[in-house]
Symmetry: C2
Subunit: 216 residues, 2 copies
DNA sequence: CAGAGTTGACTGAATGTTCAGTCTAGAAAC
DNA sequence: GTTTCTAGACTGAACATTCAGTCAACTCTG
């Protein structure tokens, strides 16, 4: 029964395992209803061990959110690095939030965001995670826009304003998509958003992708 | 539901008092941490009485959310009725979600929305409230757009697509505003959004002005 | 290299608290 | 005098966190 410690980095592995388990539970039950016991069960350990690693439930959950956001951001920048045109990179950003994806568990990210926002209102730790993430993301967008402007792909709009607008739009659409609103299908949301961006930034868009994942 | 009418709806008054109290507590503590006792205390009654009226905590909270959304929607349509031009009405809609307001507790609405969304993911009752509210709101926008098109104020864009876009944008901005993101000030959000709408619908906007919601 | 000591991972059984919801019975209204 | 409203005391379950200690794998030391 008891999986005893083997070699050295057991602890780190265990921690990460718990973080991932916590994310699963948060998606299933929601942040406030995620119990230490749930996480413990999922990694085949006792609740006491989870507390042993994270000190408090709140620390576990906050760290789990940070872990998830970091992973999402990293995946995003990794993907964008593989695309040459600014327009293509922008399209990828939009696709990441609008379109479900099989590689990552991006699907879960949406639900996680809802919890992240709701918790941010009262939990300082969570608020910090969100703040950092949002800033980073808007920064990514505005940098991308400036790059496109320098290369002549994009028109001369205010990059920061555009970043605020686009990120807000994506957030709003993500809510609808996460909650499965029948009036806002992912493909539709994607198309509307790209059209919006193309219109604002003045680049031509070649229409909806025949099949997404025409991987570079 | 079993409003016995009879001699003065004391019961109805009590109910509404409790609903309002519940909303206050939800804003302060968040939906999941709102206790029956909190609501009872706020109306100077016993927890047992609150349960007597609402049967379960969940029913109380769900009904409170519905109550709030209905009130917000009603306030919105009431205000719009007083404005003649479609562009003016649209501006009012945007102002309602972006700008803090002294009459209503609209400020609270934003935080309420975050909870509403997060709960919608797992609570069917709350999900129903949200679904209905969103649909109604988008309907309001698209109807307004069509009216503006008939009167020649607005260009011929797809009204439904525009409604999806605008409502998502407003939702996304509401998140930032609700959480007090320093990079997204209310006035800025308002201006960006009106510009977006004016651009899309092809009407002229006379720029930000102190004339509108001047409370100073 | 035996064994004494040390450490890190781990657990089962409390502990204490927090709440939603119930029960009993009294007060008010009709 | 029955129905409606109300409170106080209580129950029962759910949980986070603590505690005291187990167990195996190490590192010394003589």
């Amino acid at each position: 029964m008891k999986a005893q410690a083997g070699g050295g980095g057991m602890a780190d592995q265990r921690r990460e395992q718990m973080l991932r388990a916590a994310l699963e539970v948060i998606v299933e039950r929601g942040y406030p209803d995620t119990r230490v016991t749930d996480v413990a069960e999922r990694v085949g350990a006792s609740p006491a061990l989870v507390i042993y690693y994270f000190k408090t439930r709140d620390q576990l959950l906050t760290e789990a959110l940070r872990y998830s956001e970091d992973a999402w951001y990293a995946a995003g920048t990794r993907r964008m690095a593989a695309i040459e045109t600014a327009a293509g990179r922008l399209e990828e950003i939009i696709a990441m939030t609008c379109l479900p994806d099989e590689d990552t568990d991006a699907n879960d990210s949406w639900l996680l965001w809802l919890d992240l926002w709701a918790q941010s209102a009262r939990n300082a730790g969570v608020a910090a995670v969100r703040q950092k993430f949002d800033e980073r993301w808007r920064e990514t967008i505005s940098t991308l826009v400036r790059a496109g402007q320098e290369s002549g792909e994009f028109a001369a709009v205010d990059a920061d304003d555009f970043a605020v607008l686009l990120s807000a739009l994506l957030d709003g659409l993500a809510v609808q998509i996460a909650l499965g609103d029948p009036n806002v299908r992912p493909e539709k949301a994607f198309e509307l958003t790209v059209r919006f961006a193309a219109d604002k930034l003045g680049f031509a868009w070649r229409g909806p992708r025949g099949g997404r994942h025409d991987r570079n």
